[in-house]
């Protein structure tokens, strides 16, 4: 406790006093790690605890966004609308965000989420396909929601190309555009370069965010690199609960931010308590970087493929890493979970 009180801002970083907005995605990205089995009571407990810790934005949806409950991505054990309702009933200050992937969810899903209490729409596309989000970004703004563009698998294209796509989302009305390292494949240099490009090229009033995965053990480092480039919003997940090796752990991000002098409004010790006392007990396994998760980052494969690949590996008697490496070679993008069984079947025939 003493350290908590005495080292704040003591490192002399130029960040002193700069604020950024933290979005906790435990109840959305964490859905992948829980195979989309979150109960309303669990959602309420997690959201309530994050809210008390001062987390300003809480995202809740199926892992693949609104409408993601499916054979392809896994069925939700509880309708996500029930989860949004539970979160809305549990928070006092935090705003509720939802994710929508055009092509999976539809505009009506967004309307329902807004009616249930969501006020931030995060509209996600593969990093080269921003124009399929225009319809939904406009719809979000028309509903009075804050609109965030979410450019996934952003490691796959160069910073200048990413900026072009970010401008499409900005032009549609997105107030923030995120650099999303869905594969956890970025190095610190990669993350910094993309954030710097967007910060320099988008309008001054447009915010930039970063969403990191920990497959190469760089989620916190990439988030800090993004902060040094002036990123305005950062995603975390409590205890890292998320796809692949998990996300940037909210409690670590908050602790390190405090040490560096960034202002998040989140109480560091409470954030630790949420992770250990509320989230850890419902986790089927801790977020570790095992060989399959490491392969995601190494091969540049969408993090939520992890559990699907492990299940297919077992079903067809092949190595999960071989499946993931082949998916990487084929430049498969987020949403193509059906390719996992297809590739596993092919590999099992070859064997």
């Amino acid at each position: 406790m003493t350290a908590h009180a005495t080292v704040t801002g003591a490192t002399g970083q130029p960040s002193a006093g700069r604020a950024y907005r933290l979005t906790d995605s435990t109840l959305r990205d964490g859905s992948h790690a829980l195979a989309h089995r979150i109960s309303p009571a669990q959602a309420a407990a997690i959201a309530g605890a994050l809210d008390e810790a001062g987390v300003p934005v809480i995202e809740v949806s199926h892992g693949d966004g609104l409408g993601g409950s499916s054979f392809n991505y896994g069925f939700s054990s509880t309708d996500e609308r029930e989860l949004i309702r539970a979160v809305a009933g549990a928070v006092k200050r935090a705003r509720i965000a939802v994710l929508l992937l055009p092509g999976i969810g539809v505009a009506d899903d967004l309307k329902e989420a807004q009616a249930l209490g969501a006020s931030i729409a995060r509209v996600a596309t593969h990093c080269t396909e921003a124009d399929i989000a225009i319809q939904h970004i406009q719809m979000a703004r028309n509903l009075g929601m804050e609109a965030v563009g979410f450019l996934m698998m952003a490691h796959m294209i160069e910073p200048a190309a990413l900026l072009e796509q970010a401008r499409i989302m900005e032009g549609a009305g997105a107030q923030t555009v995120y650099v999303v390292d869905s594969a956890g494949a970025m190095t610190v240099h990669d993350a910094r370069a993309r954030v710097a490009e967007l910060k320099a090229g988008l309008r001054p009033e447009t915010q930039v965010g970063v969403h990191a995965h920990n497959n190469l053990s760089l989620a916190v480092a990439n988030s800090l690199g993004a902060l040094e480039e002036g990123v305005d919003q950062v995603d975390g997940c409590s205890r890292g609960l998320g796809a692949g090796a998990g996300n940037c752990p909210t409690e670590i991000l908050v602790a390190v931010s405090e040490r560096l002098g960034y202002v998040t409004g989140v109480d560091t010790l409470r954030a630790m308590d949420v992770a250990e006392a509320v989230v850890a007990p419902i986790m089927p396994r801790e977020q570790i970087i095992d060989r399959s998760a490491l392969t995601l980052g190494y091969a540049g494969v969408y993090s939520s493929f992890l559990l699907h690949a492990e299940r297919a590996a077992e079903r067809f008697g092949v190595d999960a890493r071989e499946i993931l490496l082949e998916l990487g070679r084929r430049k498969v993008v987020g949403g193509q979970e059906d390719m996992i069984v297809d590739v596993a079947l092919e590999l099992s025939r070859r064997a």
Binding site: F71, F75, G103, K331
Partner: protein, 313 residues
């Protein structure tokens, strides 16, 4: 009707973009249809230039020109390859001119048709809609499973090359997911349907892929489902040569689907290569639309317009 058509039914194509031009090229080969006009609105259109090269009259004066020349050309069927908005405006004019419309846009003015599944039920309709590329690829498979088993829930994932997804699809991707899901239910026979579309920008571009998942009872006759699905795929391949089943697998649940708990699931992985007519071979998603539309026209020509039909005008 002139003898120069050798008994083939004269048809017109409205829209001289990628789809209209690919369609015109396929129609040139048809044994029972003959494209007598392609109309667009852009004098510089490559599609109009190509059509003339294939010996088809082409005009950039749009639908007004077509309707003024229907009698002279003997047109019986018009293919709409523009946009939903334009077709909504044109549909009544076509019907007024006595033309049967085959609509390749999402306008859905007329009943949705999938040639091997429900076309015969709508042969008298003045306007037929081709739904979506994903629908043409996957609804036959759902219907084939349904012939052999109840399907409380069907879900499809269509993955197409980014380059083959045109501005219309991109601007309103919900139209794809909603129209396809509806078709899985109303035409495929699933109690509940869900459709997903994914765009993949890989270079070289990927072929169109479709995965069809059907929830089935644990005790469903898997041999009968397998045989029914393979027979249906052969039937589709009869008019879309690049259509094939890549994999077919059964697995056991239970699965908690929107159609209730299901004991098992059949997954069918399909690949659709284009014919490389005007569109590149990877664009199987566009090819299956034009090839299916030709099939609809040929069926109409055989069953509705001939032999009685050919003597009316």
């Amino acid at each position: 009707m002139g003898n120069e058509n050798n008994g083939r039914t004269p048809v017109a194509v409205v829209g001289s973009g990628n789809i209209g031009t690919d369609l015109a090229k396929k129609l040139v080969r048809s044994p029972s249809l003959v494209p007598v006009a392609v109309v667009g609105i852009d004098p510089a259109s490559d599609g109009l230039r190509r059509a003339r090269g294939w010996g088809i009259e082409a005009s950039h004066d749009g639908v007004d020109w077509l309707l003024a020349n229907v009698e002279r050309l003997g047109v019986r069927i018009v293919y709409e390859a523009t946009s939903a908005r334009i077709h909504a405006a044109n549909a009544a004019r076509y019907e007024g001119a006595g033309l049967i419309a085959i609509d390749l846009t999402p306008a859905a003015v007329g009943p949705a048709v999938v040639p091997p599944v429900n076309l015969r039920a709508h042969l008298d309709a003045p306007n037929l809609n081709m739904i979506t590329c994903g629908g043409q690829a996957t609804i036959p498979i759902v219907a084939a499973v349904r012939r052999a088993s109840p399907v409380p829930y069907a879900e499809i994932v269509s993955t197409v090359a980014s380059r083959s997804a045109g501005p219309g699809t991109r601007a309103n991707i919900d139209e794809f997911t909603e129209a396809t899901a509806r078709g899985l239910e109303t035409i495929g026979g699933a109690t509940h349907g869900k459709a997903i579309i994914v765009l993949n920008p890989a270079e070289p571009p990927i072929l169109m892929r479709n995965t069809v998942y059907c929830a089935i009872p644990a005790d469903a006759d898997r041999g009968a489902i397998d045989a029914s699905v393979r027979a249906m795929a052969d039937e589709v391949a009869g008019y879309v040569p690049g259509y094939r089943i890549k994999e077919l697998a059964f697995d056991d649940g239970p699965f908690q689907t929107p159609g209730g708990s299901a004991g098992a699931r059949v997954s069918v992985f399909l690949e659709v290569a284009g014919n490389g007519d005007y569109l590149p071979r990877y664009a199987g998603n566009l090819d299956i639309m034009t090839a299916s539309a030709v099939r609809v026209g040929e069926t109409l020509a055989a069953e509705r317009l001939s032999p009685a039909g050919s003597t009316i005008r």
